[in-house]
């Protein structure tokens, strides 16, 4: 992955509108977050290979970035995105990494199941 260049990601999002796509969306602060510091809550969520379709997709911010995908009945949202790639299967992978290089958030879209 490489640091996000906003316009490049925007160009990819524009090509994905009004298509049925498989999504992977997650956020995590690690399974040991509260073990290492009792003041922390261990939180995380992920959804993988649900089919979504959006009419508008935008990347916003000055880094880290936010992405919002507008769907017929709702929104998909991710915050804290820092890096991206279009992988060899042409899947859009967006991720946020902390200073230690650990993944904190991921938003991925593909026309095939992950």
């Amino acid at each position: 992955m490489k640091p996000i260049v906003k316009q490049e990601v925007q160009d990819v999002l524009d090509k994905l509108v009004n298509k049925n796509l498989y999504i992977h969306l997650e956020t995590t602060n690690g399974a040991y977050a509260s073990f290492h510091n009792e003041k922390n809550l261990t939180v995380g969520a992920y959804i993988r290979n649900s089919v979504v379709r959006f009419s508008r997709g935008s990347i916003v911010g000055n880094g880290p970035y936010r992405v919002g995908l507008k769907m017929e009945h709702g929104w998909i949202y991710a915050e804290g995105l820092t890096d991206w790639e279009l992988d060899e299967q042409n899947r859009l992978l967006l991720a946020g990494h902390d200073a230690e290089g650990r993944l904190t958030v991921a938003l991925q879209l593909s026309d095939q199941p992950f």
Binding site: A31, Y46, D83, D87, R91, E100, G101, R102, L103, F114
Partner: protein, 218 residues
């Protein structure tokens, strides 16, 4: 002398941190060790430091790291149970236990290393330990292998008492550290905090060179 040791843990690298020294001591004595690894740690958040993996490349990378760690530890029989990271606790425990029971019946191990259910901190550790205990519990009491369980909760001493086995692994600590390093995507960050690639602080060295296990209390 153990006849055959079966290690049942959910993530590539669990064996390196918790029992690599004990495993290496067994394989050096010629005791066969089988590692049944329940998932590929597909949802790990560590991606290397600096990161070189992503969510989609991580499983294949961790599979290779696991194979390398097994080679270092002398584990010649690696089984992958094929479950997905972070989902083990949502599976039917009997179904997970089935896949472990099958291996137990095939190998007839004299010792099984797993997590102590309820003392794993990570939900997959607890679920994997519970499934293993469930599988062992299907055997008549007098045919059950010895169980070495990891317990890593902060209340483990008050809840479980002192460990039944405190194993000094200083004689194989280099092998253990090599196994930890083999899981590069997961451990590079931690290792970068060690000077010269080995733990310098006494408490970390103690943590690496001593492995503790509790027998399961049925």
């Amino acid at each position: 002398m153990e006849r055959h040791v079966l290690v049942v843990l959910p993530h590539p690298d669990d064996e390196a941190f918790g029992s690599a020294g004990t495993i290496a001591q067994f394989t050096q004595k010629g005791v066969p060790v089988t590692y049944a690894c329940a998932t590929l740690g597909e949802m790990g958040r560590n991606m290397g430091k600096p990161f070189f993996a992503n969510r989609e490349t991580l499983p294949a990378i961790r599979k290779k790291e696991l194979e390398e760690a097994c080679k270092i530890l002398g584990i010649k029989d690696l089984r992958r149970l094929g479950f997905r990271d972070k989902t083990l606790e949502f599976e039917d425990v009997e179904v997970v236990a089935d896949s472990i029971f099958e291996i137990i019946q095939e190998l007839n191990p004299s010792l099984i290393i797993t997590h102590y259910p309820g003392h794993g901190v990570h939900p997959d550790h607890d679920a994997c330990g519970l499934a293993t205990i469930t599988a062992v519990g299907r055997l008549p009491e007098n045919e059950r292998p010895t169980l070495y369980c990891h317990a890593i909760t902060k209340n483990r001493l008050t809840a479980l008492g002192n460990p039944d086995v405190v194993n000094d692994v200083i004689d194989v600590v280099d092998i253990k550290i090599a196994a930890i390093k083999a899981h590069r995507s997961q451990t590079e960050g931690m290792i970068s905090s060690w000077e010269n690639g080995t733990p310098q602080e006494p408490d970390i060295m103690k943590w690496v060179s001593q492995e503790m296990f509790w027998h399961y209390k049925w």
